[in-house]
């Protein structure tokens, strides 16, 4: 992957985006499809920062490829979704904090796999080292069962630390992206609220109303459904964990919780979303028209989907088998997967949501400024 280390020299993909936008700007037939085209029309020159903004505003619904009168084999060779996917992927590396780790985006699948494997091995090894095998493979039930394998404070310190680091890294990365893409507008609460609505509804993943186009020019809305399952599944799992923390520190109630507990219900519903959503998205990805794909990004996408799926799968298995001797090993595996997921968060596909949200905020602010 070639990357410009300064913000003024366009990469080949950014230069291609500028070429495409010059054509789109003279055509404008796709104006109603999504936010990218109206946003693009505000420019005549497409600097690298502008290109990164527009690329992250793109939800990759594919409609503008099938609708394009200049798509291959036309000599203009216009394929906006594939190009913007490549630019987006580059942009995650370009703006990442800390800069020296940007290579992690190049072979994302490989290093996330290694990280997950080492992480799981680390937890199993740790449990074995700390306890004799009868504890690891014993049956533990009742309040505090998990913490007989790993002390609660140890979990909080480890995961809290990793989570705070991830927040810091992602915050600084998004800040770098925001500055590089040229923030001029004052961001008011209105723009922020508009962007929230657009993001939560995936407003721009519907090709202007018909649905997204993935396998052919026949639109459907399945990718939006799968993404909702994944996203809201993730949020429910996060809510479950947060509520568990409140229970622990606020009320002194220790996990594991009963099946009827809101913590378990939220986690189970979220887990189901995180199983079905990523599977649906992965299948959609495999079936995607090769013309719309960008090889560089595919590896990262799949790695993140697999990690989400494994997080949910191991969590649900842990729930079902928590009163059996499998609990110990499953806890180690689940914690290992979750640990890897969080360590990798700032260097994985997860960041697409943050960059896209930032782009949506800017777009909403530009719309407001234009009246």
């Amino acid at each position: 992957m070639s990357l410009a280390l300064d913000d003024t020299t366009p990469t080949p993909n950014q230069a291609e985006a500028a070429r495409l936008f010059t054509i789109c700007n003279a055509c404008r037939y796709c104006e109603g499809l999504c936010a990218v085209f109206p946003a693009m029309e505000r420019h005549r020159v497409f600097e690298p920062g502008t290109v990164d903004h527009l690329a992250n505003l793109c939800h990759n619904c594919g409609a503008c490829y099938y609708d394009c009168q200049y798509a291959p084999p036309h000599p203009f060779q216009v394929n906006v979704p594939a190009n913007l996917t490549a630019v987006r992927h580059e942009s995650y590396a370009r703006h990442v904090w800390p800069g020296p780790v940007r290579g992690l985006f190049a072979r994302n699948g490989l290093w996330i796999t290694l990280l997950a494997a080492f992480s799981v091995a680390g937890f199993i090894g740790g449990f074995v080292a700390w306890h004799d095998p009868t504890v690891l493979f014993g049956v533990h039930v009742g309040e505090g069962a998990f913490y007989r394998l790993m002390p609660h404070n140890g979990m909080v310190a480890l995961f809290g630390g990793v989570f705070l680091f991830a927040l810091l890294a992602m915050g600084l990365s998004v800040r770098a992206f925001w500055l590089a893409t040229g923030a001029q507008e004052r961001i008011g609460a209105g723009a922020f609220w508009q962007a929230m609505q657009d993001a939560l509804r995936l407003r721009y993943l519907d090709g202007g109303g018909a649905g997204c186009m993935n396998e052919s020019d026949t639109p459907d809305d399945r990718r939006r459904l799968y993404h909702h399952l994944t996203f809201y599944g993730f949020l429910l799992c996060f809510a479950s964990t947060s509520l568990g923390t409140v229970y622990h520190y606020g009320f002194g109630w220790q996990a594991p919780y009963a099946w009827s507990s809101p913590v378990v219900i939220l986690g189970t519903l979220g887990g189901i979303g995180l199983l079905t959503g990523p599977v649906g998205l992965a299948i959609a990805k495999l079936r995607r028209d090769p013309a719309l794909r960008s090889d560089a990004a595919a590896d990262m996408d799949m790695a993140f989907l697999v990690m989400l799926f494994l997080t949910s799968l191991t969590g649900l298995l842990l729930l079902v088998l928590r009163a059996t001797p499998a609990m110990g090993p499953l806890l180690a595996i689940h914690l290992g997967v979750v640990f890897a997921l969080f360590v990798a968060l700032p260097y994985s596909k997860f960041v697409h949501g943050l960059y896209r949200f930032a782009a949506l905020v800017r777009h909403a602010a530009e719309n407001r400024a234009a009246g």
Partner: protein
Amino acid sequence: MHYDVVIAGGGNAALCAAIEAQQQGARVVVLEAAPPPMRGGNSRHVRNVRIAHDAAMGTLTGPYPAAEFLEDLMRVTDGITDPVLADLTITRSAELWDFFESHGVRFQPSLGGTLSLGRTNAFFLGGGKALVNALYRKAAQLGVDIYTETEVTGLDIDNGFFCGAHVRRNGSSGLVRGRTFIAAAGGFEANLDWLTEAWGDAARNFLIRGTPYNRGAVLWLLLNKGVQTVGDPKQCHAVAIDGRAPKFDGGIVTRLDCVPFGIVVNEAGDRFYDEGEDFWPKRYAIWGRLVAAQPNQIGHVLIDAKSLDLFMPSVFPPECADSIEELAVKIGLPPDKLRATVDAFNAACAPGDFDHTVHDGCRTHGLTPEKTHWARPLDTPPYYGYTLRPGITFTYLGVKVTPEARMVMADGTPAANMFAAGEIMAGNVLGKGYIAGIGMTIGSVFGRQAGEGAAHVART
């Protein structure tokens, strides 16, 4: 295979006909010469359709009564139209919004830079290719047999009665038999040899704005089978477009809207026409002809830094230089001559309040030819130059039809089982000139007429 309806062509008119006929129970086949990504003829390049409506609806911002539509049509054609067919076109245009929407076509508000059309024209979401894709999906879903890369090479017509179409596909030939025939295969604007007959060798330098597949093969076959023609065989719709556009298929992005803001010179460095005669949308169609009459069919628009942001951006960046002489060298004009032309123009510009939204008072005095509006001295570097060439949109020559879209034979009798729709018969309604979205109106209305008519004939 024996079909009820054989359709030559695969653009909007052909698909409207196919959908209509199939819905009436006919077995329909569509024969499209282009490969799948390029299917749809010039419909692939369209933006909108002009439709009559009595009140604002959907994306249409206000009423456009049929009477006003007819006035507009009479104005652009100077009355060269078949009044019965014109009336039918406009009356049935009112059905088109629902027709398209019910077949999966979507609309969007009028695009940036086209506000003047927001009331009269319904814009297709994603443009013409999205329209074409939706209609192909609908036709296939209804059971229409669709063959792409299938060229009609001959027609078996016996005394004005269609028996079958000879086709070539993947190098092999075959005969498609049918009870009725619909010609919806476009004009001949991509056939340079044919254009040369009307325009002489100058036509070799023309650019074709649309599909390279409109070579007029079906039109030529019909003219040789005794079908009556309509429209001036020597006329085509020619506009001045960016000279760097590809030979075919450049479409909308190759237009240049900057002529009123600067001066236009030929290869000798001389001006040849009033660039500020009227607003560009009212004048762009004459500039194709004007440039075609210049040496090597080339013109050059020159503007300065004051005007760069006043028009829609074009797809090719202009040549740019800090002096007129330097620009002349870059675009291959004699520098001294161009300097003299610009100096004469600058000296003739009277001071005035420039306003490109009205017919302002900025004009030249004592120049030949004068520039009568929007004349400002070219004095603010950098200077920019765009090359102009004639771009051919469509041809007017077609086959004469009845209101049921039946072809009319040379002796004046309507053909028993042959119909026509789209550009191949648009000259019946649009005998001259052009008005945005009218081609789609004619194609859609007569596509449906032909589909209904052919299905009816096939049944009886």
